[in-house]
Subunit: 202 residues, 2 copies
């Protein structure tokens, strides 16, 4: 990945674009192949010339999404030069930028995992786990060196990731804030979670 902060708008062929649109609106099971065909400006057999099954469309979409996120995340981490706090902040920034710029892709990525058939789900889950580990590793390092004070770092890391993952549920392209502004704020939220000690247990 050359520049993990840079997002163009080209990415999906017309069929996948139509499928993604339909999945976002009604969910995988609610979307019909006829609806996807209509959105793509094709007949139903026209769709099947490009993808073998509806399941294949979902799988391809999720694969592209995770591959894009993962390669951007690795690039973001590399920019930190080994500083775990900086790496953590860059990873959160990257995660939020992705969830804003690739809103639909990210939304399906978190909401339609359960619609994948078993073997397909296993593959995508592995990619998600790799993404989570990328962040866990930096949090662990920052905690070990005493620069994060969170009492439950793993729980805190999960809270941060889920907070970012939820961005597509409210962010729209016409939102008053830019993705970059949202990302900057979320980096501070994440650092707040990691730095706050709170009251001692009762």
């Amino acid at each position: 990945m050359n520049n993990w902060r840079l997002y163009g708008d080209i990415e999906l062929d017309p069929v996948l674009r139509a499928a993604l649109e339909a999945f976002v609106e009604t969910g995988y099971h609610g979307a019909t192949v006829r609806d996807i065909a209509r959105r793509a400006g094709l007949s139903v057999p026209g769709i099947y010339h490009h993808y073998a099954t509806k399941q294949d469309m979902l799988l391809t979409i999720l694969d592209l999404a995770m591959e894009d996120l993962l390669s951007r995340s690795r690039a973001a981490k590399d920019e930190a030069g080994g500083d775990p706090v900086r790496a953590f902040a860059l990873l959160v920034e990257c995660l939020v930028l992705f969830h804003c710029h690739r809103r639909d892709l990210a939304f399906i990525g978190s909401s339609e995992m359960r619609s994948l058939e078993h073997a397909n789900r296993a593959r995508i889950t592995a990619l998600r786990t790799a993404q989570q580990r990328l962040i866990d590793a930096e949090v662990d390092a920052a905690v070990r060196s005493g620069r994060f004070r969170a009492a439950y770092p793993r729980d805190a890391a999960r809270a941060v990731v889920t907070m970012c993952t939820a961005v597509p549920s409210w962010y729209r392209a016409d939102h008053e804030s830019t993705p970059e502004q949202v990302a900057a704020r979320y980096v501070n939220f994440a650092l707040g979670i990691m730095h706050y000690e709170g009251a001692p247990p009762a």
Copy 2:
């Protein structure tokens, strides 16, 4: 609501219980009435004796969920005695307890809103908005009195709520931590978000 921290396990009739189970596993559109009937130990017409349509089952489930959460939240707020920081902490505690103890209900509440028909969605959305306002009001008060330092309190409040809403996506009944432990940690995460200033803008 007598005690907003207290959760029994009775709440749904057999049909709704079966429908909830099916919705959680495959989503509203993926769940079939035949499947719901099988889970409930009834025939298909047996289901329709209790609910007019599949949509009615979803609506009833979401209605019960939001009503339960809202009345607990109001009780939690009342316990604060007018202190906005304390009210905020209690509301977060309440939100997390609900999302752990009523995991399935809460999960459907956040994932199947789009499956509601227009008029039904409007009603549930109003309840959700009321819930969000409950928290926003305390955050605003705490910011006005200078006890929260977050630069973007509305964004911070939304981040906190979505972080709590995401709990059902990873919490299971057999989780190593109790709902009460998770809630206590999340209260600290939320306070961390509200208290952390971060670096000045570049």
